[in-house]
Symmetry: C2
Subunit: 416 residues, 2 copies
Amino acid sequence: MERSEEIGKENGDSEQKQSVTDGSICGYESLDRLLSANLQPQVCQEVSRLLLGLSCGQPLQSIAIPESAKSLSSEHDFDLQAFSFCADKELLRESRMVRVGLIQNSIVLPTTAPFLDQKRAIFQKLKPIIDTAGALGVNILCLQEAWMMPFAFCTREKRWCEFAEPVDGESTQFLQEFARKYNMVVISPILERDVNHGETIWNTAIIIGNHGNIIGKHRKNHIPRVGDFNESTYYMEGNTGHPVFETAYGKIAVNICYGRHHPLNWLAFGLNGAEIVFNPSATVGELSEPMWPIEARNAAIANSYFVGSINRVGTETFPNPFTSGDGKPQHSDFGHFYGSSHFSAPDASCTPSLSRYKDGLLLSDMDLNLCRQLKDKWGFRMTARYELYADLLARYLKPDFEPQVISDPLLHKKSS
Amino acid sequence: MERSEEIGKENGDSEQKQSVTDGSICGYESLDRLLSANLQPQVCQEVSRLLLGLSCGQPLQSIAIPESAKSLSSEHDFDLQAFSFCADKELLRESRMVRVGLIQNSIVLPTTAPFLDQKRAIFQKLKPIIDTAGALGVNILCLQEAWMMPFAFCTREKRWCEFAEPVDGESTQFLQEFARKYNMVVISPILERDVNHGETIWNTAIIIGNHGNIIGKHRKNHIPRVGDFNESTYYMEGNTGHPVFETAYGKIAVNICYGRHHPLNWLAFGLNGAEIVFNPSATVGELSEPMWPIEARNAAIANSYFVGSINRVGTETFPNPFTSGDGKPQHSDFGHFYGSSHFSAPDASCTPSLSRYKDGLLLSDMDLNLCRQLKDKWGFRMTARYELYADLLARYLKPDFEPQVISDPLLHKKSS
């Protein structure tokens, strides 16, 4: 078989269901759907309580999706789900309901296609999904990490840097139109080329305001060196701190991909006042799937904010085979990006996940007042004793740091 | 009905199965058992992969339990489960296998019984469970938070302080015998009375070495003020830092109960070199059950160490009714302690949980080399950029801290 055919086959339609890695079950869409298809309703409800939590003491409510939106999702073959988190009514503050959207998608053309064609094909694929979000009244929409290109960093080939764009480049302009049209804040994670700093490459999220203006950017703070995530070959640790963007619809921040493994990164966005933190990602099954539902949700609990987690879908195959530092033979793909985008709330509840295989749009309504309500309830900020940790981290940074270890004085005594 | 009868009924045998809060399903023992009883094996295996992860690419293995131990668990009616985490063989280090045990239990006598009787009845109940752990070759054993008393802090009555003991008190002495007999490290979380500091009360874990010696103690760092967890009425934030205890079987630490909500607390034990962190707890269903499987596991992933999570079981009813600050009528119990003790590993895998209703002993074999293997694989320490956070926390502590907020300059412009 020609390599290009192979690529065409694998990068094509995301609708084709695939076997899971171990071959035991074919193409189930998500854990939640697998459970609801296989459990009695009563059992399923209790399992959901344990796995997804409760919102105001009740299972999370679905939002009815209008027929027009259902038609679009069916026509363009993307998963469409919508939920509503519950919060208490307050007596001194109006509720601050916002509708938030996450989009996950596979690439469209083979990675051998001309780069501009690849990018524009993604634009074309996203258009009806973003239109659906806009038509459904989404206030804040976030796309996946490096959404305008294949996630080619596994290859270590520098030619993929050509996809990098300035903050106000073509991909931003594409999204600015939707922001204006739908009065919607859009978060656009791209590969950034920083011409003013000698063509430096960054992994950057651009925050587009609801008038189409660029509010600012955040550059990925923590860069992986694990598996085929050879991103440290391409770009360095971000230099934008932990900004929180005050938008028309609340205070938001972006923790890009691998930053979700760092509780301190999540903490910093919280200390700066974030109410929703987005985690646009690109991650593959064998490496991280069991971690995926844990880390974002822990961050939402610990920091009393909402989290929107996005992962791309599909398998991307590249022209030249590469090895993975695991002694296995060379191969041409990065593994299966398992989608499964979802929201987590500060009250420890979370939504079911989007498909593991299909493009998707996940909506959720949330009252941002819930963040403060949870701070008042649990008091994590007030009981945090930050002074202990400021001191510890300052000491830890020194090369001669001595950990606090109490050794058993009988350690080398023989057992009686 | 007399109140004492009521108490007797509720505090009695833990074996009696109870309805879950919403009444939909009666007395299932654990999420894992509920799923395996209701799913086809093939589906269950895939659900387990998503929920519990893989260990060396395989489902976590059970350890065969000898008939003698099974008989003890049956005779004394406690849940007994055993698993083995997998690690790679290294070429330059011997593997460091340890067998670790967690015990969860309900109290025995009504809380109206004489205090000494209540305590000694718990001793008697624990004896065969600890003997089973010893006979099975457990190297490190941890009991639940304040294991030698009812969790009476919901009442705000100061008379329960009578249960507090010095570090070398009766409860410690009780456990020192087992430590010597079985050459076993024992972690004993008690209510501590610190006579040398004016009868100060602490929530303390005592680390007993495998020769029966007291290696040291750790006092709970973070004290809750949520629901009926009125612990701040009884004791203050611990003054022992984040010690790691170097024992004959590895470097261990203790994050007591509410400290699990604080990622910085977990982090500090990791920075000090812990390989296993125990989280002895007492927590109830409606408040925290959906958080329970998330936080400890996130800590194991983020800090590349094992976590042993323990929660007590049963419902404890107190002589005098109390209110809960939620506008609801006075009541006499704290809610259902849902057990569900389990282990989490640094590779994101975790064991199934012990029963939600019964006493239990959970064993796990683990090669402590796995901690460093995961540090080498994922590099979370090296990519953590602690300097950013030392600086942020130092600034945050100042009363005039200014969060890093970038406001949309068009924030107050009317939408077009």
